[in-house]
């Protein structure tokens, strides 16, 4: 497929790797990389970890060096927001100005959900961007005494972990009965809860936030059980929403993301990648939208290549998802796609020691592997998942461990 130019909207992980892949594969036309943040493409995982702890300088967040970025010869438009798309006319609107496109990569990611009624209230933060993280980092450095974290997902758990490391008093509030319960199930969620409590987090589960208190600046939160918690810093990690408003009415199908086919194609010459893309992963036979780092890299690569090949040459994007999360001195990794009701079996190590691997299975199928400080075993398990190993085959493999 010969294209004259490709526009990539979204200059984070998926967008960057799409650009890099186009050049690597020999595309010589113009590549426009449009991003609404003022910063050159940077890496987000450290934002809730080392960057938040003040242990990583701004320039160490960059996804690549200035030299390599220059070598890609991009029309790099930072601080520019795409505001509209017309699929039939083959045009998009950037900062209100209409321009045509030949190939288009949609990689606009997601943004954080916020707690209603907290707009304009000081000391209330979400964490998605470098600027968000810098603001929380500075607040922690300014001697925040009491931090309340709302939501015990990845962001909440990592922020709690980093804040504990800085000597801050942390209360974490989670509406479910266990942190990560919706992903890992109750049993493994309880292990996660135990890790936080052992490190000094006051973890409140099965309770929501009724009201955020404060006049001008947050003073605390009132929970649904009537308890009031004092706080001078509130970090809200209650999930994200895909950034699709700018393509509403464009002719694309939107349903909790930009809906693509299994090759990541959303319309002729238009692909989507990363957190914003929802596609039928043939491995699972269902529409998926994955918010993990590795997915953004791989889907950015896949989607870019999709633009350069014909429909006949296109291949489906069929990864086994995986993520990692660093909390305290524990590395949590999950490969696969567990259901919270799956059977769970610890196959090596012990949950009490917080060093183990556990398998998830359902109907004789091996669905996922969870590890805490067991990277070797998780990655071997990821290979089994990719090979389509059965529950019995996976257990037999794991019986060789230890």
């Amino acid at each position: 497929m010969v294209r004259s130019a490709v526009t990539i909207v979204g200059a984070s992980l998926a967008g960057y790797w799409a650009a890099e892949t186009l050049r690597r594969d020999g595309f010589e036309g113009r590549i426009s990389l449009v991003g609404d943040e003022p910063h050159a493409p940077y890496d987000r995982p450290p934002l809730s970890k080392k960057y938040l702890a003040g242990d990583l300088a701004d320039d160490r967040l960059a996804l690549t060096t200035d030299e390599k970025l220059a070598d890609l010869n991009l029309d790099l438009r930072l601080g520019c927001r795409a505001t509209g798309l017309d699929v039939a006319d083959r045009t998009l609107e950037v900062e209100g100005i209409v321009e045509s496109f030949d190939g288009l990569v949609i990689a606009t990611g997601t943004r954080c959900r916020t707690l209603p009624g907290t707009e304009g209230l000081g000391g209330v933060h979400t964490l998605r961007t470098r600027d968000d993280a810098a603001a929380i980092r500075d607040a922690l450095a300014d001697g925040t005494g009491r931090l309340v974290v709302v939501g015990a997902g990845f962001i909440g758990a990592e922020v709690a972990s980093t804040a504990i490391g800085r000597g801050v008093e942390v209360t974490m509030v989670e509406a479910l009965e266990a942190p990560f319960g919706r992903v890992l199930g109750v049993e493994m969620g309880a292990v996660m809860a135990d890790v936080h409590r052992q490190h000094g987090v006051d973890l409140r589960t099965g309770v929501g936030v009724e009201e955020v208190l404060g006049d001008g600046h947050v003073a605390g939160v009132r929970l649904t059980d009537g308890t009031t918690l004092e706080a001078d810093l509130l970090v809200v990690g209650i999930g994200v929403v895909p950034n699709t408003e700018w393509v509403e009415g464009s002719g694309l199908t939107l349903d909790n993301g930009v809906v693509c086919d299994e090759t990541c194609l959303a319309a002729p010459g238009i692909v989507a990648a990363g957190d914003v893309a929802r596609w039928p992963n043939p491995r699972y036979g269902e529409l998926m939208r994955v918010e993990h780092w590795d997915n953004a890299v791989q889907q950015g690569v896949h989607a870019a290549r999709r633009l350069l090949v014909s429909d006949d040459e296109a291949t489906p994007f069929a990864p086994v998802p995986w993520f990692w999360s660093d909390q305290y001195d524990r590395k949590v990794q999950l490969a696969g796609r567990p259901h919270p009701d799956d059977e769970v079996r610890v196959v090596t190590g012990s949950t009490e020691e917080h060093r183990f691997a556990a398998f998830y299975g359902r109907d004789g199928r091996f669905t996922a592997a969870l590890g805490m400080n067991r990277p070797r075993q998780v990655m071997q398990s990821k290979g089994l998942l990719e090979a389509g190993a059965s529950w019995d085959e996976a257990l037999a493999f794991a019986s060789e461990w230890d």
Partner: protein, 63 residues
């Protein structure tokens, strides 16, 4: 080609081991070991994937 790992950056996520088990191994001590520092040129595409997908960007390739 030469494979270089910045061990100050490496956090043993082990994705490299899954991509190229003949080159990278994370052992039970949770540390990464390089099994082959000079894989053949025919392995370049695989090695580039390891570079790309390392969450810490700790791997680089030389000539």
């Amino acid at each position: 080609m030469r494979v270089v790992v910045d061990f100050d950056l490496c956090e043993s996520n082990a994705i490299c081991m899954q991509i190229a088990p003949d080159v990278f191994e994370v052992r039970d001590d949770d540390f990464l070991y390089i099994l082959d520092e000079n894989p053949g040129e025919d392995r370049r595409a695989v090695m580039e994937q390891a570079v790309q997908r390392c969450p810490k960007q700790a791997i680089s390739l030389g000539d």
